[in-house]
């Protein structure tokens, strides 16, 4: 029997071929820039040079400099890294908590499910940004407090999705068969339920990543997320705001970069959602499968 996780990944790969090239291009570019940022920025994104502060685009500073003389082009690239790493950490933690609790709820059912899902209900009754703000208001500002706040705000959604997937997987006949064959609950959970739940939730997570990027930038814009001097798009935008009149580029560029990345994630999520809908078989596909069925020997009617 093929591993469900493998099946989910190969399904994702098959789905990727039908994705809009633009979204894929944006996201690959974003990931590449984020990964290699420290080695490709023409200047140190933190290096201040007050003598050349607030310059326009030139051959020396391609996209100009900010109010402290830091190279905007370098900072834009370095921000991609900040954003990428923040998203990876937060999504990883939120998925770990959400998938664990959600799949356990779907696996155990009954009282356990009831308790977990009520907690999820309360968590989902409020928009994630408000939850994150409240958590920061209690614990304070800082990188890891931001991570904590966003993980707390994000896990209920993941738990809900995983519970839904887990419940459908549990109702499939092969789980029933495993039980009849005497598989232990631990085996059913770890070998069969968890991998297929994880696969499906990973696919949904891409759709959600855009909202997370937006949340990180919004918190940083408000001065509650990524703290200076670490470069981040939302923070670059708020830094440039007082000089909007004379140097609009310092506001427009980080805003555009952020928007582009979020558009990429949203387009990806949308086409994944569309790909998951059952589509009627095309004529060519039908003919193909009929031809294939005709070659089967009469005795074996079941498809392995």
């Amino acid at each position: 029997m093929t591993n469900p996780l493998f099946r989910a990944v190969s399904g994702l790969r098959r789905g990727l071929s039908g994705l809009p090239r633009l979204a894929l291009g944006i996201l690959i570019g974003f990931a590449m820039l984020g990964l290699v940022a420290p080695w490709i920025t023409p200047y140190d994104p933190l290096a201040q040079d007050l003598l050349s502060a607030r310059q326009g685009p030139s051959a020396v500073h391609w996209l100009g400099t900010d109010h402290l003389g830091r190279d905007t082009f370098s900072r834009l690239i370095a921000s991609a890294r900040t954003s990428l790493f923040g998203m990876a950490i937060i999504l990883g933690l939120a998925m770990t908590i959400g998938v664990t609790l959600g799949s356990v709820a779907g696996f155990r059912g009954g009282r356990t499910e009831e308790v977990i899902m009520r907690v999820v209900d309360v968590g989902q009754a409020m928009p994630s940004l408000i939850v994150a703000l409240a958590v920061i208001g209690i614990f304070g500002t800082g990188y890891w407090y931001m991570v904590l706040a966003l993980v707390l705000a994000w896990w209920p959604g993941k738990a809900r999705v995983s519970r839904g997937v887990a419940v459908t997987v549990m109702s499939r006949p092969h789980i029933e068969a495993l039980r009849v064959l005497g598989a232990s609950p631990a085996r059913i959970y770890f070998r069969h339920l968890l991998p297929s739940t994880l696969g499906a939730v990973l696919v949904y997570a891409t759709a959600d990543a855009g909202a997370l990027a937006l949340a990180i930038a919004t918190l940083s814009f408000l001065g509650l997320g990524i703290q200076p001097p670490k470069p981040e798009w939302g923070q670059m935008l708020v830094d440039g705001l007082p000089f909007l009149e004379t140097a609009p580029l310092q506001v427009v560029l980080p805003g555009l970069a952020l928007t582009l990345v979020v558009v990429g994630f949203n387009m990806l999520g949308e086409s994944i959602a569309l790909n998951r809908l059952p589509r009627p078989l095309s004529r060519a596909k039908l003919r193909e499968s009929r031809a294939k069925a005709a070659t089967w020997p009469k005795e074996t009617t079941d498809v392995v």
């Binding site: 408000i130 208001g137 909007l244 928007t259």
Partner: protein, 313 residues
């Protein structure tokens, strides 16, 4: 129908109770002794006796359920206590600011509804025309653009370049326009797609064919038969966008220097002023729960299928 409404009301009541416990628990679990903070605020270098006096004055030595009941009684009458940081009456500050936030939200919602209906109908009248394609692109980017970026761009366009509108402040009608548009533009773009797609789907249904064969004009059908059909979907989407706009006030109010609830909440978060965070969170969460309740009830009344189904049970 009545059973359905009662059940829905009960769900909301339970959620409200849980949310109030969460808000209360947040401050109880917060690090630091509240009494010490207040004593320091009143007299720097307070003695233990003074701290103990404040503890008993605030009822901090009472058991938790009693403290919760006292706090809830206060919250229901609009008393949220004294801020530990600034010493101001939080309940009064919130009350003064609710009209500002209300005006911002109402204006933005009206703008979003009008814009989305207009754009959605134009799109449905001329499918795949210029305006249809433009709103589609705006809606796609709309879900992805941060509101602070939109606000900054509007300020640049209308204040810096054209000089038509003031870049911040709350005064005459000219100062209302930009915050409303900043908050309402993206929800409006998203809602216009709901209208447009809903109309397209409805126009493909058999009863529209019947209306066409009776000889009714396409535009008449669009307004008289198709519009009521998209109402439930539109109201649901509007509710979700209203929630998003409420969160947006935290960003938009400081951007335009409006003294609203969102701005106060943000100040509270920034300076870790627990009482302000607590009361702000409670107000927001109560608003979300009531909003969801109103949306669900409105959909029940707007959707004939739900109406009939409810009357049988």
């Amino acid at each position: 129908m009545r059973g359905m409404i009662l059940r829905r009301l009960r769900t909301s009541a339970v959620l409200l109770l849980l949310a109030s416990m969460l808000c209360f628990g947040l401050v109880v679990a917060a690090p630091g002794n509240v009494a010490v903070l207040i004593a320091e605020l009143r007299t720097p270098g307070a003695t233990f006796a003074e701290i103990a006096a404040i503890e008993s004055e605030l009822g901090l030595n009472n058991p938790l359920p009693v403290r919760y009941a006292d706090w809830l009684k206060g919250a229901l009458t609009g008393e949220f206590g004294i801020s530990y940081k600034t010493g101001q009456d939080v309940g009064e500050a919130m009350r003064n600011r609710i009209p500002v936030t209300g005006a911002l939200l109402a204006g933005a919602a009206i703008f979003a509804v009008l814009a989305s209906l207009a754009l959605g109908f134009i799109g449905a009248l001329r499918p795949y025309g210029m305006i249809d394609r433009a709103t589609r692109a705006v809606a796609l980017f709309g879900a992805s653009t941060p509101s602070f970026f939109v606000g900054a761009m509007l300020v640049y366009l209308f204040s810096v370049q054209l000089g038509w509108l003031p870049s911040f402040g709350l005064g005459g009608p000219e100062t209302w326009l930009m915050p409303w548009i900043t908050l309402g533009l993206l929800p409006g773009a998203i809602l216009s797609r709901v209208v447009r797609v809903g109309l397209e789907e409805t126009m493909a249904r058999p009863f529209i064919l019947t209306a066409r064969s009776k000889g009714l004009k396409r535009n008449t059908i669009l307004f008289r038969d198709a519009l009521p059909n998209i109402a439930p979907a539109f109201v649901t989407a509007l509710g979700a966008q209203m929630a998003a706009m409420t969160v947006g006030t935290v960003v938009v109010e400081p951007l335009f220097a409006w003294q609203g609830v969102g701005e106060l909440f943000l100040q509270g978060v920034r300076f870790r002023d627990y009482m302000v965070v607590q009361s702000g969170l409670l107000i927001f969460v109560c608003f979300f729960i009531v909003l969801n309740l109103m949306v669900d009830l409105a959909v029940m009344f707007l959707d004939p299928k739900l109406r009939r189904q409810g009357s049988r049970t």
